[in-house]
């Protein structure tokens, strides 16, 4: 059984948000529910300011705090390393959103921030769905949190589980350039123009993701929380411009 993981090379990432868009199209997410987002920050004080960014998907932690707190056990860790939500069991209490240190969970019934709201333009036709978009994912599966989100639940990045779970057994990497694995590669990885993202089996010593983590000293965010993310970030020392804390 594979243990899927992702590597994001911040030196290559141009912050183009293609991953965010691809994710939204693949998973029918509403504006504001960016399962995958690129966060921008202006750092420094005028005139010495820089813009910094980093992509933030769900970290699919090895020891996820969201799974530990879920009162109804709706969120769970699969054998192949993904953290999923069973929308049939989720009661929308948002405890997981409080527990997640990475802020990558979204409540589907939040008040829309953009007007006109897409929910009003494509209203759901009587079902529990939040909306009725023109394109619908053909892989809808509420037990895994895949498809158009129903009302009153929490949703999150699934590592495109409807794709990766169909990958051939024993494959080390899911690469958009390999015709054999192209279809099984997560949407954000497949669309990344500068190829800043890699996706593969963390348990396979020969996988490209493992080599990258070793060779380029991949790091995980917020190690002190003990969540052990399965998403690693790469960045050469010194190539990222100096970050200075804003004076308070």
């Amino acid at each position: 059984m594979a243990k899927w993981g992702m590597v994001i090379d911040l030196d290559k990432c141009t912050g183009c948000q293609a991953c965010t868009t691809a994710c939204g199209m693949e998973n029918n997410t509403l504006p504001g529910e960016n399962w995958q987002d690129v966060l921008y920050y202006n750092v420094g004080t005028y005139p010495n300011t820089t813009m910094k960014w980093f992509p933030r998907p769900c970290m699919h932690c090895e020891d996820p705090s969201c799974v530990h707190v879920c009162p109804t056990r709706a969120t769970y860790k699969t054998e192949d390393g993904a953290v999923l939500i069973d929308w049939n069991k989720c009661i929308g209490c948002k405890y997981c959103m409080i527990a997640c240190p990475y802020g990558v969970r979204f409540y589907t019934d939040e008040k829309p921030l953009l007007q006109p709201a897409l929910q009003d333009i494509f209203p759901s036709n009587g079902s529990r769905h939040t909306w009725n978009p023109p394109y619908k994912s053909p892989h809808e599966d509420w037990t895994k949190g895949i498809g158009i989100q129903p009302r009153g639940v929490v949703s999150k990045c699934t590592f495109c589980y409807h794709k990766v779970s169909r990958a051939p057994a024993g494959v080390a990497d899911l690469d958009e350039d390999d015709p054999n694995t192209k279809e099984f590669t997560p949407a954000c990885v497949r669309t990344c123009a500068p190829k800043a993202r890699y996706f593969g089996d963390l348990d396979n010593p020969n996988s490209r993701v493992n080599k990258l983590i070793q060779d380029k000293r991949g790091v995980r965010l917020l190690e002190h929380t003990g969540n052990k993310p399965q998403v690693y970030y790469l960045g050469e020392h010194g190539t990222v411009p100096e970050f200075t804390r804003p004076k308070s």
Partner: protein, 417 residues
């Protein structure tokens, strides 16, 4: 890792929609979506397992599980606060036999030929709940109530301590009835009688299928006809769709989002209130729990209200139309609270405390507001967030935006400096 089959196998099992027998052919059925243990991992309820005399029923992390050795005594149903368990042979409401003499209740181990005439029959007296005893008192209209033990409890597996297993429920109902001023002769009494025939009692509680089965519909028909036959053999089996055990996952989810009914508590309070009103007495404060929220520690996440299995804690969002200010409040209804302790465990900030008995008798049973927070729109994302006493003065960002900032700071100042 290939096919869909593998993908399917990783999904945890769905919660059954309706009644499901805990084991094929076992006399116990569970309505999982009403079981507060299944509903919330923060619930400490293990009433059914604690009361099982044979240890066949154990409450595990995922809810009750039935092993071997269930004798169908019904003690688990009697203690379940939300009516999530049903045992063959127990009706939720017992009928009152016609006549004017004492009302006798006898167990199934007593042979039909040797039972007190007109006696109410249940598989085991231990399966009588407090609310059922109160109902007997209420509907008996002053007739004495005799729970009859014929010396069989000494070697009965339903009574490991040798006494009649109705003892605990009897003591509890007795205390409640005394507190509201019901005279001793009207309170149910445990009467010890010798077995009337030479053959003695049956060795064990007979299986429900061996007795005449009265369905739920039949029971209701008899109720409506006020039939004299109502008295005997009131049977309610585990509802028949239990065998199918169909798990409609979507419907089960809908049930999880609705609060379960604290059936035992509702009945108890309704009966006690009627009995107490007739005597001009108030309900004792010991009936009500007390929940308090420390406003200094509460962060306004409202997880307590979202996870309360019986809807005793409710979240209310209010908007002042003149000022445009919105408020988040947590309201508490002590009449619904079953003291499962789920709220205490679920509060992410540890701000909530539950004590089993209210202190102030005057306000004990009254719904009240526990805490209220104002909202403020987030400077960055525009979403409203609760402005609690924990929020530092001048804080303009919502917790989600603060979280993102912390990540950025870690990445750019700690890891890639």
């Amino acid at each position: 890792m290939n096919s869909t089959a593998t993908a399917e196998s990783v999904t945890p099992p769905a919660i059954p929609t309706r009644w499901q027998r805990l084991q094929p052919g076992a006399p116990v059925g569970l309505a999982a979506s009403a079981c507060i243990r299944v509903r919330s991992r923060y619930s400490r309820c293990s009433a059914c397992g604690d009361d099982c005399p044979t240890g066949a029923l154990a409450v595990e992390e995922q809810g009750p599980r039935l092993g071997n050795g269930c004798i169908g005594c019904g003690r688990c149903t009697a203690v379940c606060p939300t009516g999530a368990l049903a045992v063959d042979g127990f009706a939720r409401s017992l009928g009152i036999p016609p006549g004017s003499g004492a009302i006798a209740v006898e167990c199934w181990r007593v042979r039909d030929a040797e039972v007190t005439p007109q006696a109410l029959r249940v598989p085991c007296l231990g399966g009588l709940s407090v609310s059922q005893l109160l109902a007997l008192v209420h509907f008996a209209g002053g007739r004495p109530i005799q729970l009859i033990e014929r010396g069989g409890c000494a070697h009965c597996p339903a009574a490991p301590d040798g006494g009649c297993p109705v003892g605990l429920a009897l003591a509890e109902s007795d205390a409640l009835l005394r507190a509201i001023g019901i005279e001793e002769e009207r309170r149910p009494q445990l009467i010890r009688l010798p077995p009337s025939g030479r053959r003695g009692l049956l060795r064990e509680i007979p299986a429900a299928l061996n007795r005449r089965v009265l369905t739920r519909r039949g029971f209701l028909e008899r109720l409506t006809r006020h039939s004299a036959a109502l008295a005997n053999d009131l049977l309610e089996v585990v509802p028949s769709d239990a065998e199918a055990g169909a798990a409609d996952a979507v419907e089960a989810g809908a049930r999880l989002r609705e609060p379960a009914r604290p059936i035992e508590r509702e009945r108890r309070l309704a009966l006690l209130a009627t009995l107490a009103r007739a005597r001009g007495n108030a309900l004792p404060a010991s009936l009500f729990t007390q929940v308090t929220i420390d406003a200094k520690r509460c962060n306004g996440h409202a997880v307590c209200a979202a996870t309360c299995p019986v809807g005793a804690l409710q979240r209310s969002d209010e908007r002042d139309t003149t000022t445009g200010e919105s408020t988040l409040a947590i309201d508490f209804d002590p009449r619904r609270c079953i003291a499962c302790g789920g709220c205490e465990g679920a509060c992410p900030s540890g701000a909530l405390t539950l004590s089993p008995h209210a202190i102030d008798a005057a306000t004990a049973g009254l719904p009240r507001r526990l805490v209220a927070h104002h909202h403020r729109p987030c400077f960055e994302c525009g979403r409203e967030f609760a402005l609690t006493q924990n929020t530092s003065v001048g804080e303009e960002r919502c917790p989600a935006c603060r979280k993102s900032h912390a990540l950025a700071a870690e990445l750019f100042t700690g890891l890639f400096r």
